[in-house]
Amino acid sequence: MADLKELAAALMRGDAPAVDKMTKEAVNAGIGVKQILDDGLIAGMQVVGERFKNNEIYVPEVLIAARAMYTGMKVLEPLLVKAGVKPVGTIAMGTARGDLHDIGKNLVSMMMRGNGFKVIDLGIDVSPQKFVEAAKEEGVNLIGMSALLTTTMPSMKATIDELQKAGLLKKVKVLIGGAPVTQRYAAEIGADGYAPDAASAVDKAKALLGM
């Protein structure tokens, strides 16, 4: 549909007022909310993720696209609830204990939201205990941990151990990332998945949930 392509394009430009306006117009034109979400907002955010991954755009462009996306989401959210549209998954995200680097974690959160996930942001410097508490919450089926420091990586292992002890590893899948983290490290500490960037994080999350 032509106007949803326009909506996706406005999102990619980071034009929040246009996204707000066009989302409302699409709703008023009687287009289904799920379709506006999928073919408008999610479609746009997927291109943003892809371009960022390929270094064609940079952090500022992703941030303004995400802001534009949120204005559209605000319009759609009540309608999605009414229509009974469920998030594709719920991820509780935080940076590993002791780690204050949150730009990467925030970008991953934005990309998750932009792909239909519900995100519970646990913030920075999150203790294993706090991750465990979040994993117990209803609906949460993914835990996302970000570490930018070699010295905070072990706390990701500690978290996985705690999740194991609490018997939660059947309920939630664990996804990890951050500059020094590797697939090998993920396998070593028993994380279910690793992704090198925000767009791949979404793909990985979907794969882990069997989508």
Partner: protein
């Protein structure tokens, strides 16, 4: 040959007696371990968040600044480092009050701007966790920029005299680096807002960089008067995969001011070294050759910056500093691993001069002392000119 000469010769791309050694910072836990007493140095959280805040609240700023300088000079002398950068100092007019355990609020009485600093004792980290600018968004940033444009200069006669005096004991011994840079706010709680404004409010960002660089130019003059031998800019522009913003934004916001800074340094006959973390390949040529910088520091190997390639490509034009990985190697490696890496780096980069050895960022609080000492020892072992296998 003393340190000053050693560095001058290396920067002039000739071979001194040995490869000069430098660290941008050495955090307190490692420094205290080495010196056998509590050291007031580095940019770890204990000093920069807790001690700064508590001593400032007690009105003991001057005492603290003097203590930091004297510990800093003791440490760098003990380790026989060649370059002494300016230490992190509690230089602010803000008032400080505790707001929670390990959290302090800094308020600037003139502008009304405030920020909250938090400290994590377990990891020795600190950061700005909140601020008026972050809360208010674009209007907050606008208010900040207006304030920057009209506030009186930071440099007072007192400050100048003080700086001269504290540097005195170091002047003969070290090549001293002052601080100057294009002040992208990489540590501010409002950094994401700033990044968004680079895309949405470019005129406001132009004004921000114009105002902050104007202040930096006066600081360069003051530091030059106080007798520094060169400058380093410590603001990070990149992360592991690329720069934080696009080359087009660098051309608009950063490079013109970088040139103003290097020109001012050069007018004083002093070199300017640019530090940045991360991968800068997409702006490498423009930043390293087009902005008048004399050296590039950090050269983070885990971000894909290959110093041997940089040496071939730029080695005859600028000085390279750094590249000993502080993320994994110095943190988790063995002293033997460290020694090997230092040997390799020196073989690749030291022939002909133009190389200064240091870690790829700083000696942060997670680095075992023995690895840092192994790095320094290896620098001596392999770093003597003339090189055997060059």
């Amino acid at each position: 040959m003393n340190s000053k000469e050693r560095v001058r010769v290396a920067v002039a791309h000739r071979e001194p007696d040995r490869v000069p050694v430098f660290e941008l910072s050495i955090n307190s836990p490692v420094a205290s371990d080495i010196m056998g007493r509590q050291m007031y140095v580095g940019f770890g959280g204990w000093l920069v968040a807790k001690v700064f805040s508590e001593w400032m609240a007690e009105g003991r700023v001057l005492e603290l600044a003097l203590k930091i300088f004297s510990d800093w000079i003791d440490l760098y002398s003990h380790l026989e480092l060649d370059i002494l950068p300016m230490p992190t100092l509690p230089l602010t007019n803000e008032t400080v009050e505790p707001v929670a355990e390990n959290q302090w609020k800094y308020t600037d009485p003139d502008s009304g701007l405030w920020r909250v600093i938090g400290y994590n004792p377990e990891s020795d980290y600190h950061s700005e966790i909140d601020s008026r600018i972050k809360q208010e968004g674009v209007p907050g940033l606008r208010h900040h920029v207006e304030w920057l444009e009209k506030r009186p200069g930071l440099v007072s006669a007192d400050l100048m005299a003080g700086l001269k005096a504290v540097l005195d004991p170091a002047r003969e011994r070290f090549f001293i680096l002052g601080e100057a840079d294009v002040l992208f706010p990489s540590e501010a709680s409002w950094q994401p807002l700033f990044l968004e404004c680079m895309a949405l409010e470019p005129e406001l960002i132009d004004r921000y960089f114009e105002a902050t660089t104007n202040e930096v130019l006066t600081l360069i003059d003051a530091e030059a008067e106080a007798g520094v031998d060169g400058f380093v800019g410590g603001v990070d522009f990149a992360y592991h995969s690329t720069t934080l913003f696009s080359p087009a934004m660098f051309r608009r916001f950063i490079f013109p001011h970088m040139r103003r800074i290097t020109e001012r340094c050069h007018s004083r006959g002093l070199p300017f070294f640019k530090h940045t973390d991360g991968n800068i390949e997409n702006i490498e040529n423009e930043l390293l050759l087009g902005c008048g910088i004399d050296g590039y520091h950090a050269i983070e190997p885990t971000a894909g910056m290959d110093i041997a390639r940089l040496k071939r490509q730029y080695g005859d034009k600028i000085t390279l500093l750094g590249n000993i990985d502080c993320g994994d190697l110095l943190t988790n490696g063995s002293p033997e691993d460290v020694t090997k890496a230092v040997g390799q780096c020196i073989r690749d980069c030291a022939p002909g001069g133009g190389y200064v050895l240091s870690s790829s960022n700083s000696i942060h609080s997670g680095i075992p002392t023995q690895n840092f000492l192994a790095m320094l020892k290896a620098a001596r072992e392999y770093g003597t000119y003339p090189m055997r296998n060059s």
